[in-house]
């Protein structure tokens, strides 16, 4: 098991952001976390990445509690946040160097890994360009390269395609799927864009802090008698949902 989330709950004051969320992710799997804005996806990511302290429930990465083994957990995770966290005034290499150093890597090791990652992403010639001079798609790719620099076994992407054009979104999605397949990465792809999800993807449907469904995309359609995933999504998240699991 790569990630095990057990009965997770979180509140902002009196407002419930997550309630009794349970799921498990396998190594080498691609899972879509689907939910409208405000569903609790970002809060879930903040808990998985230890940015927020756990209030209720437990999270285990490779079988180890992130509460008891936080350093190990952080070494297993690569994360691309919804809001860009690159330093715009530094170059691509300098950004990667900073991240690598924070993960305890030496300069030579960082350089070797950064070159390899950027070559794979087709960005090697932009190594010494300032991030400010890159377009949105390239910045996202740099963020993915950075997330993979310390060679994690899990990659979490929180609405990583927000603000990108359709083609760049599709390219990025395809690239992450390749990574998942080739490197046996466990990927959790959070999105509110249904077109980013394939019929055979496992989908975790989050709505108002609750996990409404955990099934393949086509199974969600079958469950709701819908022709498309978009229709199924609407039925699940309609105010009088009959399918709340």
């Amino acid at each position: 098991m790569s990630i095990a989330v057990e009965h997770l709950g979180f509140r902002y004051g009196r407002r419930v952001a997550l309630e009794a969320v349970d799921f498990e992710l396998q190594p080498g799997s691609f899972t879509a976390l689907l939910g409208p804005n405000g569903a609790g996806k970002t809060t879930l990511f903040a808990l998985l990445t230890r940015l927020y302290a756990l209030q209720e429930g437990e999270i285990r990465l490779l079988g180890r509690s992130i509460r008891q083994h936080p350093a190990e957990a952080m070494r297993q995770l690569g994360v691309v946040f919804q809001q860009s966290t690159l330093d715009l005034d530094l170059t691509v290499m300098q950004n990667l160097d900073y991240h690598g150093a924070l993960h305890g890597l030496g300069r030579r090791e960082i350089r070797t890994r950064a070159t390899a990652e950027l070559e794979r992403l087709g960005l090697i010639e932009r190594l010494h360009d300032r991030v400010r001079d890159l377009n949105g798609g390239h910045r996202r790719r740099v963020e993915i390269a950075r997330a993979l620099l310390h060679r994690p076994s899990m990659l979490l992407l929180d609405e990583a395609t927000v603000g990108l054009d359709t083609r760049t979104r599709a390219d990025l999605n395809a690239y992450v799927r390749r990574l998942c397949r080739d490197q046996k990465l466990c990927v959790l792809w959070a999105t509110h864009l249904i077109e980013e999800i394939a019929a055979d993807d496992r989908v975790l449907l989050l709505h108002q802090g609750r996990l409404l469904a955990d099934a393949r995309g086509d199974q969600l359609c079958l469950n709701t008698g819908s022709n498309t995933l978009a229709e199924a999504f609407d039925r699940y998240t309609a105010p009088t949902s009959e399918h709340a699991a």
Partner: protein, 274 residues
């Protein structure tokens, strides 16, 4: 897939190296920050001190062996002024990092958060030191401020300790400041009182002559003792009480900054979202 186990000590060192490199790179790109850090104390030294030289006589007080010009008296205080502004600017930079989201990169490190904050603190302190030495060179050129040459070496640990103290106060404040806009409050309620209610501009005996409560306010201000530590170190003297108080205050504020650091608040970008 996972990286092999790292030698922990080496990982800590690489982390420190990375934070220092990042802060210095950012600093090198902000030339205006470097210039403004120098212009402020130079204005005090060249303009303010020239005007007050005639009005303010400075009696022979340790560490000076003879009467000194007012410029000579306030130069150590102005070194500390640079450290003070830089320390407070570090709080601004932490709030900026928080708002821009880059704080999350730091928080995602597997190393202990206390160590990450200490790395930040050391980086802030070392950047401040480069500015202080640039100021000392200009003070020598512009007003002939000439401490003993060896004093430039002996003052280094005193400056470093002071920079760490003021950086720690800055970090502590950053956990309390919600938005960049609130930095003006830091100027009015922290920087100015700390600087003016100290021995940076006037000797303590002059303060006591003016007002007993002002004198005691100066004594209670850790910045006063940092200034005296730097002043004595510049003239090859060790002021033990000042060292003890400055070191004690540094440890206290560093602990408070580490304990007061709230990762949840630090992780939230603009609008309070992570």
């Amino acid at each position: 897939m996972n990286s092999p186990l790292l030698v922990p000590r080496l990982a800590y060192w690489h982390c420190l190296r990375g934070v220092l490199a990042r802060e210095f790179r950012r600093f090198m790109q902000q030339r205006s920050r470097f210039l403004s850090a120098l212009v402020r104390p130079l204005l005090w030294l060249v303009v303010f001190a020239a005007g007050f030289r005639a009005a303010l006589g400075v009696a022979i007080i340790p560490p000076y062996q003879t009467y000194v010009t007012y410029e000579t008296y306030i130069a150590p205080g102005l070194c500390c002024m640079i450290l003070l502004f830089n320390g407070m600017q570090s709080s601004l930079s932490m709030v900026y990092d928080r708002e821009m989201g880059s704080m999350r990169v730091l928080l995602m490190s597997p190393l202990p958060r206390a160590w990450l904050l200490l790395c930040k603190l050391v980086a802030i302190a070392l950047i401040s030191l480069t500015q202080v030495y640039a100021f000392l060179a200009l003070a020598w050129l512009l007003v002939g401020f000439e401490p003993p040459l060896a004093g430039l070496v002996t003052v280094l640990p005193a400056l470093l300790l002071t920079a760490l103290l003021l950086g720690a106060i800055g970090l502590l404040l950053s956990s309390r400041i919600r938005q960049l806009e609130n930095f003006a409050g830091v100027m009015n309620f922290v920087i100015f009182p700390m600087f003016f209610i100290s021995s940076a501009l006037y000797p303590l005996w002059k303060m006591r002559e003016a007002s007993e409560w002002l004198y005691w306010a100066c004594i209670l201000n850790p910045f006063t003792h940092a200034v005296e530590l730097v002043r004595h170190a510049l003239y090859l003297e060790l002021n033990l009480p000042a060292l003890a108080i400055t070191a004690g205050a540094t440890v206290t504020f560093t602990l408070l900054a580490v304990l007061g650091f709230n990762p949840e608040r630090a992780a939230r970008g603009k609008g309070g979202r992570p």
